[in-house]
Subunit: 345 residues, 3 copies
Amino acid sequence: MTDTLHSFGLGIATLNREGALIETWYPAPMLHPDPGVTRAAGKACGYSGGNRAIVLEPVQLEALEKAISDSGDEHSRQLVHALQSAARPIVATFLATDEAPASVAEVYLKLHLLSHRLCQPHTLNLRGAFGVLHNIAWTSEGPIDLPELPQRQLQARLAGRALSVDAVDKFPKMSDYVIPPGIRIADTARGGRGAHGGEGTTVMHEGFINFNAGTLGPAMIEGRISAGVVIGEGSDLGGGCSTMGTLSGGGKEVISVGRDCLIGANAGIGIALGDRCVVEAGLYITAGTKLQLMDRDNQPVRTVKARELSGHSDLLFRRNSTTGGVECRANSTQIELNEELHRHN
Amino acid sequence: MTDTLHSFGLGIATLNREGALIETWYPAPMLHPDPGVTRAAGKACGYSGGNRAIVLEPVQLEALEKAISDSGDEHSRQLVHALQSAARPIVATFLATDEAPASVAEVYLKLHLLSHRLCQPHTLNLRGAFGVLHNIAWTSEGPIDLPELPQRQLQARLAGRALSVDAVDKFPKMSDYVIPPGIRIADTARGGRGAHGGEGTTVMHEGFINFNAGTLGPAMIEGRISAGVVIGEGSDLGGGCSTMGTLSGGGKEVISVGRDCLIGANAGIGIALGDRCVVEAGLYITAGTKLQLMDRDNQPVRTVKARELSGHSDLLFRRNSTTGGVECRANSTQIELNEELHRHN
Amino acid sequence: MTDTLHSFGLGIATLNREGALIETWYPAPMLHPDPGVTRAAGKACGYSGGNRAIVLEPVQLEALEKAISDSGDEHSRQLVHALQSAARPIVATFLATDEAPASVAEVYLKLHLLSHRLCQPHTLNLRGAFGVLHNIAWTSEGPIDLPELPQRQLQARLAGRALSVDAVDKFPKMSDYVIPPGIRIADTARGGRGAHGGEGTTVMHEGFINFNAGTLGPAMIEGRISAGVVIGEGSDLGGGCSTMGTLSGGGKEVISVGRDCLIGANAGIGIALGDRCVVEAGLYITAGTKLQLMDRDNQPVRTVKARELSGHSDLLFRRNSTTGGVECRANSTQIELNEELHRHN
């Protein structure tokens, strides 16, 4: 039963005043965990199958340490040992299968799997996650369930403390939970929400990665990666550029960007790009944009709607600055990420 | 005299080293307050009419609690009771009339009235507020008057503390003061400054609401609401879109957006929109933009300047991707906000 | 030897677990310091020439106070006296010459010189600075060397503290180090990184100043100043506008903007602007954009590539909203910064 778990995590949880779990940090989440460990953990925690998040009693934590110690996983044993001194509740989350999450602890475990790069965007079932999560005030004193905020603000002010409310959102800022190796995020307020930052990715101040979205490898992100959008290795999103999501007028199709693409500053795409494509700075290509296809000699061939080129490679999109028409031709320039920046990432 | 106050608030204030009030938090500001309460409060605080902010002595607070207790407002009595334990000065701000604010405490009371949704943008006299306010370093240790910052930085560093300076601005981040119900703000650094967030509004990471501006109901804000701009219910501002303010090259006319509009990503408007208008992603309509009006059969009718259409409803603006000309026709598409997102707001 | 130092600073440093210096705050950096002070300091610190950062022992700090006291610089003496009570190591950084920085302490001294407005962008040798700096987690508990972050996160969570990771970056947020007089920065997460903010500059929420870049005087910055870009007095960068940097598809030429220019919201430039130029909202001018030059009577003269006009003054760039072609003509409008805002800066 615990031999083939989908995932497992031990976390430090935040409960609200009613005792409901509103947030969890898993220092070492596991995908397809070692059966020896989860068997031991399941027994100590009273796990009997299915997808369950169990808040542990001190005695269970002690039993868990002993059981994991016997399983030989010293790293996990040390973690369990440390967790026994926690000032907050400890939760053990067992996911037998990758089903739509039914609890906050489950959603958080999956967000951790994404941000730890154990899973790629779109490979986990997060259906309904938005409805499961609480709307939280993320403050300088930690996450606070929204109904409790006014009282906490009063307490802080009375004591002369500044309580900063940094976000009011269902999704957490994942960079407070895990920073995977080989990444830079200039402003983590914009990098979070279950994002997947590939090794070698730099997210600049204007860059943004939304939920269940991200990069697969080295990339320079100065534009916005909308929910669900995935960016291939070696691609470069210029400052303020837009990848059309499904929230604001975008369609239902989630778009993507291949390898070694360049989307210029303040440009935007409403279609998927293949590999080695370039969109000129300031040009927004929507699915309905009519494009004049140009041949190698820069002569017009025919007109197509941009959606017909969705996902194609080696294309360059620009607006003819004389005629104002949007054109597409073969991309012959080779994009290279700034060498110095990426060498030292 | 205190029977018809415009507004009233009890706040916890921050004074600078010279004893000047630089900031105030009002947990429960009142518009057109109950005369019973303000009569009692006025007597206890020595208020004798006009617009006054009075820093209270402990004995006045005690008298205030007793007086309010007699008036039967138990909620206010509890607040006054709690305030007696404050580590900071308590201020009672009485506004007899809505005049241009003469003190920091007055400006803050009006900012609170806006953010508590007790008043809509433009309904309060805030003339000259900018000149009344101090330029403040908003830090992890609370607001610090700018001339005092270097000394505070030195003290913090000597003690091994990290003093984060989050903003240097006259206007506060209002989300540290009040989060009205039914709102999400993904990055409060951008949602503040006397903003009015309507119930059901989501301000995404790229969204921004400036001073005396905001939304009147459910809305998805991924673009920038400039100072004074008001957005109607059901409208959707795409990522990075711009509503032209009066700071950077915009005119003197404050623009607005009606209900059920969609401004596409990276688009922008320099005119007001009526209801059910759409501006295509990436298109900036300034007041001087010449538009080709198209009929239902998509045939050109005549050319108009955009300012002639300011405030009109049911229009769709786009740039013809073949000719490069900007066109306007009747909007027949119905915009709907993302259902799942807004159901769980 | 110490008579002609390029610069000097006494700082409070952060070391990582291995004892390497990863960050330094210099409360009062000096350019071309008084020889009397540096001679005294050099002797007390055991400085023997070249560019050196010396971590001081308590006994050296005492000697330094005495030596500086003898030199008559009371302000520096007071600083040294205060530093003796620091909970962190104190570093004395002597730069004999402006060479490529070889240590973290050197880079930080130069970043301070820029942000204190002692040097203008591009006047300091910062070659290789990126490679010298550590990739740091900038947290609510101060800078943490990235390899140490997981352990620190665990400690904080065990103790019930929220450890916020605000950035993961090599460059610091300079507003935590110095706020020069006469500046407003609405969101310091975007104003930092060795930026030079001129007196009278306002950086709004959407504004951003990258490394070794900035403004030279009064300016309203609601757009992005890319690395190395310098903006002249009286210029106005509209919301979300872009100045093309060298990271994302930009060329190798660093661009600049002269005095009294206006770049409209969501516009962008890939060429330098001279003085009194205007770029219409939403228009992106790249170096390769073909422009129709118009005479005073608005008649076409000839076609040029934008790069030929790089750095020229008194030009107005716009896209003809009827033909879609990009045009350039003499700018006859006078741009004025919002008076009220700047009077009270």
